[in-house]
Every structure is written in C-alpha cells, then in structure tokens.
Amino acid sequence: MSYFDQKEPPKREDRLHACIARGDTICGLANRKGCQYMNEGDRLFTQGSICQLLPALAIMNTFPDSAILVHGAVGCGSCIHSQNAVVKTGNAARGRPAKDGLWFSTALDETDVIGGGEEKLEAAIIEIDRRYRPGNIFVVAACIPALAGDDIDTLVQTLQPRVSARLLPVHCEGFKTRIWATAYDSVYHSLGRNLLNEEGQRMPVLQDELEEIKEEYRRKHTVNVMTVSSMGRTDELELQRLLEALGLSANFFPVYARPEEMYKVTRAALSVSTCPTHDDYLLGYLKEKYGVPYIIGTMPIGIESTGLWIRDVAAFFGLEGQAERLIEQEERELKEALKEFEPIFAGKRALVSAGEIRAFVTAGLLAELGFEIIGIRSFHHDEFADKEYERLAAQTEKDYMVNIANAQPFEEANLIQKLKPDIFLGHWNGNGTAAKLGVPACVIYHTAMNFIGYKGVYEIARRLAKQLKNTAYNRNLSKHVRLPYAQNWYEEDPFKYIRQAGGESHA
C-alpha cells in the first residue's frame, strides 16, 4: 500500500531513519562501515528551532488563488509574516502582482481545547469560502487538533460538497517529528492525494492529430524540476537555461504552481530533484502512479555538483555528448572569470551550516573556490547525505568536523570559538552567532539571490569577495555584544550534551 493512501505521511525518523544529533568528522561519516543509519539520539540541552509547520507554510504560501487556514492557536503561523514578504517578491519576479497572501487562524482558545475545535473549524471554512472565495483552502493542522481529538480529514470530506473552494488537509503537528524536512512530505502528500489526478477532466474534447503529436513531443522533452522554495527565480532561470541548452524544457514544481495546473507534473518525461532531502517522497509516487521516472542525484550548487546534475539528466535522454560540450564550455568561461577572486579566497578557512544537502554541496563549492573547509554543520542526517560525505572526504586532504544539529547555536558558538573560521556561511536566522563572535558571515540561502548552477558559483564568489573586503560590522559588534552562553561553556566539548542511543551523553 502506498504512503499516499494514508491520511498522513510517516515521519522521517521512521521512513528514512533520519537523525538530528551527532558530532563526527567527514571521513568518519564517509567510512561508516556496516552502519546504514545512525541512532535517533537527541540532546540533554536543546534550543528551539523550527517544526514541520514552518517549511510547509513556506511552500503553501506560494500557491496562487489559495487560502491557508491554520487550525491551531493564534500563534501557529506567525512565521507567515516573514514568508509573506518573500512570496510578494517571488510573485513580482514571476510577473505576478506582488500582493499579500491570504491566511487565517482558527485561534483556538481554552474552550476549544476542552470541547474540541471541529465546530469552529467548520464554521471558519464555510465563512472563508463565502467571504473570500479562494480557489483552494489548505486546512493545516497544528499541534492542538491532534491532542484535542479533531479529525480534520473527515470534517473536510463531509464539508467539501458544501463549499466551492477545494479543501486540502495538511498535517503539520510539530510534536510528531523532530525532522522538520517531514514538512515537504506533508505538503506533497496533500498535493499527491488531491491535485494530481485530474487528467481526465482536462483532456481536450476535440482531438487533433497535430496537437497530439505536439503534446507528445512536449511531454518527451519536459523535465519536472522539483523545488520546494529551496531556490528563487534567478536560480530557476539558471537551471532553465542549462536544460534549454540541451533542448529540454523545465516545469518547476511545486512552488508558485497554480493548483489547477499541478496535474501537469504527471505529464513529463522525467522528474529531477534539486535537493535530495526535499523530493524523494513525491518522486517515488509520481513514478509509481503516473510512470514518470526520476533522478535524485545531488544539488546543483558548485562546479562539480552542477556538472553531475547536468550529466544525470542528459544521460537519461541520451544527450551525453551535448552535455559534455555544454559543461566544458561553461566551466572554461566560469573558471576564467573566477581567477580574479583566487588570491582573496586562497587558504581562507570556512565553516558552513545549512540543511543536509545544501551544507555539503556549498562546502564543495567553497573548496573549488580555494577555501579550506574546517567544518560543516548539517540540520539532519539521512541516507541521501552518504554520497555527499564520500565526495567531500575524497576531495579533502585534512579531515574536518561534521556536526549534525537542528540549528542548536550553542554548539555552533563553541565550535566557532575553537575553530576560528575566517568566514561562516549559515542559513536564515543562523548567522547571528558567528556575527556576534566577529566572524564575517555570508547567507547560504535566500530566494532573492543566486546560488545554483554556474551563474550561482560566480554570484556566491562575488558576494564572498565583497563581504571579505570590509568585515567591520561583525567585528565591531563582537567587541560590544555578547552571546547568552556562560564563559565556561566555550571550554567544554561542543558535543557534551549529545545523548547517544542508550541514554549516555557524549562526554
């Protein structure tokens, strides 16, 4: 039975044996013999990070003509204030009006917690449908409904005939998984169950032989490029450029896709992941149910990784020769352009922190630019990282630290004090620790900037060179502000609080 037959997707701890707590080295991880996965350890001391609700909302906010109804306390979904600003810019970049999104909260109170929130949810759905007329309402369950015993799936099913919007239940209970990447599965789960199977209704009534041939041609040359808000429009355009150079066209999915057109993802020759940690759940389903084969390779960030990504796609279509010519020409021009930065980067020591795959491929890119990698922090570990560990271990002369951590900036602060990097690359809201310790920081992900493909390599290099030109902001800051950690914490083993399986801590 498919996962998609269930109301909710499984958590990634179970499906992929993902984990969030480990202190190791790149060679240690690459050479884990006979141990396919790690323990599910956690920490004795933890800091807040995110839950699956946040990335799930980040994706759903991008869908046009849709309302998001968060069924939970009034605070669940406050994160949308930041995401809304991103989506406005994203819409503008795609030639759409830069309008505020439409989101709601059932703002559950004490009465609802005791008596259940189904009645309120029902009233909210009916009223939102009537007053706002969205094409789709994503009904998103936060923590409370699961504990209060609300059955949103049955409610939505019962209610659907009474409303004009299409109702899409999404399960995002924060307490159910430590691996926030489960968010991608939660959204894909809802899209897969509700939006992809509309082919029958969409078939043109009058068949025309020429149109059929055209459609068949289009399908044979279309690649689904999966992106769950992991890249901005400039990144999409770079991948589109590279695919078009091979005579292929790109269908970006699912962010910013119109729900009524999402079925198109079932009509492609191939699906290709742009970040293995994001897409495997849906890609398997697309293959199994709609016969669309897929590739999960690496993330096209960095010279080598971009080449690998292109070669994977090209091999599927038998375009190896064209791909080699494309890669050769792209690399030649890029390397020539990068020469001016070589003296700036040579020997500079870099520490990187981000989501699983992004952290590793960005480290690879930095090594290509001449940086020395002294450590990588990755938000979680699962089997998709194994290939990256091996590539990086083969690339480096010196072994270096790898820390699996769902943010946990206290470990980062300790590591930065010990490792003293010349530059730090961290995720959104993840550069503050380095900054306050006086280390120049460069954001590793931002949808308004370019990171992907050959153009991405050059743009990252340009940003790094700019940031290293004047590091006064963080340097000055570090002289006057402190982090909240006790002085003696910096003397401790950074992984002291990691609890290994069996209950013992690391130290």
Binding site: D42, L44, F45, T46, Q47, G48, S49, I50, C51, L53, L54, G72, A73, V74, G75, C76, G77, S78, C79, I80, H81, S82, Q83, N84, A85, D100, F104, S105, A107, D109, D112, V113, K120, A123, A124, E127, I128, R131, Y132, C143, I144, L147, F175, K176, R178, W180, N406, A407, P409, F410, N429, G430, G432, T433, V481, P484, Y485, A486, W489, Y497
Partner: protein, 446 residues
C-alpha cells in the same frame, strides 16, 4: 471569539511572553514547548518586527525542551527538569523564566513544582503559564509580568515617595518599544521621579526586584498589563493608574498633568515642564510651516493599530497635527471593560472630530468600515472624495492605502518595510518623529 482571524497581527501568549522575557535585562527564557515554537516567533519577528530579531537570548538561541510524542504520552516534567539543569550550566543569566506552551499545558505537566525544586536564590527560576490557546501575545506579556510580580519582586512594606513603575508597552510587538519607553521615562525623570521601566537601557533586575517600593504603577495602556497591575496591587499594595499611550504634545500634556495630580507633584513644576517641552516641539516644527501649508499636507486619515496605537495616533492626528481621522480600527480584541474604555476615548477628542471606531481582526474588512463611514462615488459629476488621504497602520494596510490612493506609514505590527532601532513616537520628541515619518511618506517620491 470569532471563528477565525485573518492574518493575525500578533502571535500567541507564548510568543508575547518570549519577546517579553528576551527584553528583560539578563533574563533567559526556557520554553517548555515543541521545537517549532522558537523558530516560529523568530520568523514572525524577522517578518514584522521592523528588522529587529531576538536580543541577548532570542531567535534560535532560546533554550527549549523540544518535547515530542514520548513526552506527550508519558509527561514532560522529567525532560523539563533536565532542560532547566542544563540551561543553568550552559547559559549565563541572572533570572530564568520557564514558559509553558499548548502541548505541555494540555498534557498537564506540573511545571510549578519542577521549577520550585530547581530554583535557588543565586539562580532564580520562575514560570509563567503561556500556552498559545490562553490568548495572544498581549496576554503573554501580561502573564510574564504577573509571574515576575508574584515570584521575583520582593515584598516590602515601605513605599518610597516619587518612586514609580511604568509598563504597558509590549516589547517587540510594539516595534517602537525601546524608543517609546525611553521617551516617557526621560520625561518622568524631569519631574524628579525614580522610574523603573523594566525593559529600558537603565533598568536592571535589581531595580525590578525592589520595585515593590514604588508608590504608584503607571500603565500606559488601556489594555496591556492591566491585569498584571491588579496582581501587583494585590501582592505588594501599590495602586495603579492606566493612561493612554502619550503621543505628541496634547496626549503628553494630559499624561503629565494626570501623573502630577496622582502623585501630588507641585503644579508649577509640571506646568513648567509642559511649557518647556511645547516650546521645544513648536520651535522644531516652525520651519515646516511653509511647506506644510504650501503643499496642503493636511490629510483625511484611517488609523489601524492595536489598543495602544489606534487611539494614541488618532488623537495625535486629530489634536496636534490637525488632520481628519475618519476611521480608527483596533485589530486586537480586548476584554469588554477595556474595549469600552478605549471606545469611549474616541468620543471626546479636543478637535471635536468623532471618527468611527471599530474592533476588526480581519484586514480585508477594513475597507468596508470606511465605505460605511464615507460612501463611494456613484459616478456623480461632483463627488467629495476621501482624498487626499493617509493610512497609518501596519505593513498589511498598504493594499488598503493603494486602493484609496492614499499615502501609508507602517507603525503597528507587522512592520515589514522599515528599520527600527531606537525610534519612538511617545512624548514630545516622538511627536516630531511622527510628523517626520508621516510627511516623509508624502514627499518620498518628490
């Protein structure tokens, strides 16, 4: 309660409580919550906080028990105790405040007992019940103050003359909180008062600990921190007054007179200060006179804000700037007593204007309230339009402004499109800032 809130302009009790503890000097919050609460509030600040995120221990640095299914099933107090112990090892602070959340309140964890077992005089640990379902951010602010007053402020029978506490401005959710607190504080210092404001730069935990010696608590809000003031009075016997947030000369004159009267400060001292400050305000306003009149910068206005701003700004526009506010919208839902007090204030503005005032939590409905007040054109040849107009609200009210062809300034949360560090709108200087920012928006494309 309504069945839903559109684009809520506040977070939950835990969100407000977290921002409040983060803003206290040398305090470390400990969330007893799932892992996502911390990041959720961080992203909310990042989106709506005037580009202020965190603080000494905010953002993703906040200690959190990150409870999961096993704790939901078997109880989370062991995990909390472990988290408190390790927090005391890793973090440097002088006060630790445990904040509970939806799931930990729903499973009934006995947090108080856990905290009592671990608190020490050197490293005090207190707790506040701040489950998201208990209320919004304003509730969380109040809950933290209550817990401070009950568990941290020391009892004293001695009241000190001219010593006062002041609160009612919610850190972070009022994006201009630092500037707003500082400006009021500096005015009260000029009346020779000893002012404890909890979150400002000269405040400290020691001053908070000894705050029970105050002879008066001043709450500069009709709604926020009022329950905490009642708790303070019960616990420590200090009476309180609530006054609207003073913005600009008219509001601040009234504020100072009221304080002077309640504290029996010599009338001429108060009047002298009011005189000097008004001189200052109008001396700085003076050179604006030509442009203000030549460009006809008087505007019709819609004001959208929380309980503090909806009235404070409307009054400034009406009574100081001479604008014509037609509609004021409060996007919060305070209790019925507070709502009544607030609504009543709009009925006696000095200008004699009577703007419509509504409580409305749904952004998209605001235009409807305006249309009721000022009907649209029927295509008649001569139509007295709602123009020139200005919308003072949050960043979410830009679409309303655009639909009216009005200028716009973001003041209430979310403030996405401004950078705010020490700017504030309270007092006389705040009035000047507000003039600068309002008229600055009008001439921005000049």
């Amino acid at each position: 309660m309504p069945n839903f809130i559109e684009k809520p302009r506040y977070s939950c009790a835990l969100g407000g409580a977290l921002a409040t503890v983060t803003a206290l000097p040398d305090a470390i919050p400990i969330m007893h919550a799932t892992s996502g609460c911390g990041g959720n509030f961080t992203w909310a600040q990042s989106g709506g906080g005037g580009l202020q995120v965190g603080g000494l221990c905010g953002g993703l640095s906040v200690p959190s028990s990150n409870v999961q299914e096993p704790e939901i099933v078997f109880g989370g107090t062991d995990r909390l105790a472990e988290q408190i112990r390790t927090t005391l090892e890793v973090m440097e602070g002088r006060l630790f405040v445990v904040l509970t959340s939806c799931v930990t309140d729903m499973i009934g964890d006995d947090v108080r007992r856990t905290v009592e077992e671990l608190t020490t005089p050197d490293l005090p640990v207190i707790a506040a019940e701040t489950a998201g379902f208990k209320g919004n951010s304003y509730y969380g602010y109040d809950a933290v103050l209550q817990s401070l007053f009950r568990g941290f402020v020391e009892k004293t029978s001695k009241k000190v003359r001219k010593k006062v506490n002041l609160w009612g401005i919610v850190p972070s959710l009022d994006v201009f909180w630092r500037g707003n607190i500082e400006a009021i504080r500096s005015l009260l210092l000029k009346l020779d008062l000893d002012v404890n404001t909890f979150f400002a730069r000269d405040d400290s935990l020691d001053r908070i600990r000894t705050s029970a010696a105050a002879e008066l608590n001043i709450v500069v809000s009709d709604a926020y921190g009022v329950s905490a003031a009642r708790v303070f009075e019960e616990e420590h016997g200090t009476p309180f007054i609530t006054l609207p947030l003073p913005i600009g000369p008219t509001g601040t004159d009234g504020f100072l007179r009221e304080i002077g009267q309640v504290l029996s400060i010599r009338k001429n001292l108060v009047e002298k200060l009011i005189g000097t400050e008004n001189d200052f305000f109008y001396r700085y306003l003076d050179p604006l006179t030509d442009p203000y009149n030549d460009f006809d910068m008087q505007r019709y206005a819609v004001v959208v804000g929380d309980c503090n701003y909806s009235y404070g700004i409307t009054r400034f526009l009406s009574d100081d700037l001479g604008w014509i506010p037609e509609l004021a919208v409060c996007t919060d839902l305070p209790g019925s007593n507070e709502a009544e007090t607030l609504a009543e204030r709009f009925t006696h503005l000095d200008s004699g204007l009577r703007p419509a005032f509504v409580f409305e939590t749904n952004t998209s409905e605001i235009i409807g309230h305006l249309t009721k007040r000022w009907p649209g054109s029927n295509g008649q040849r001569y139509y007295n339009a709602f123009s020139p107009a200005f919308v003072v609200g949050s960043s979410l009210d830009r679409e309303l402004a655009a639909s009216l062809g009005a200028a716009h300034l973001s003041i209430s949360f979310p403030v996405t499109n401004r950078v705010v560090l020490d700017r504030g709108y309270t007092g006389y200087q705040g009035g000047l800032h507000l003039v600068e920012d309002l008229l600055g928006a009008i001439v921005a494309t000049r």
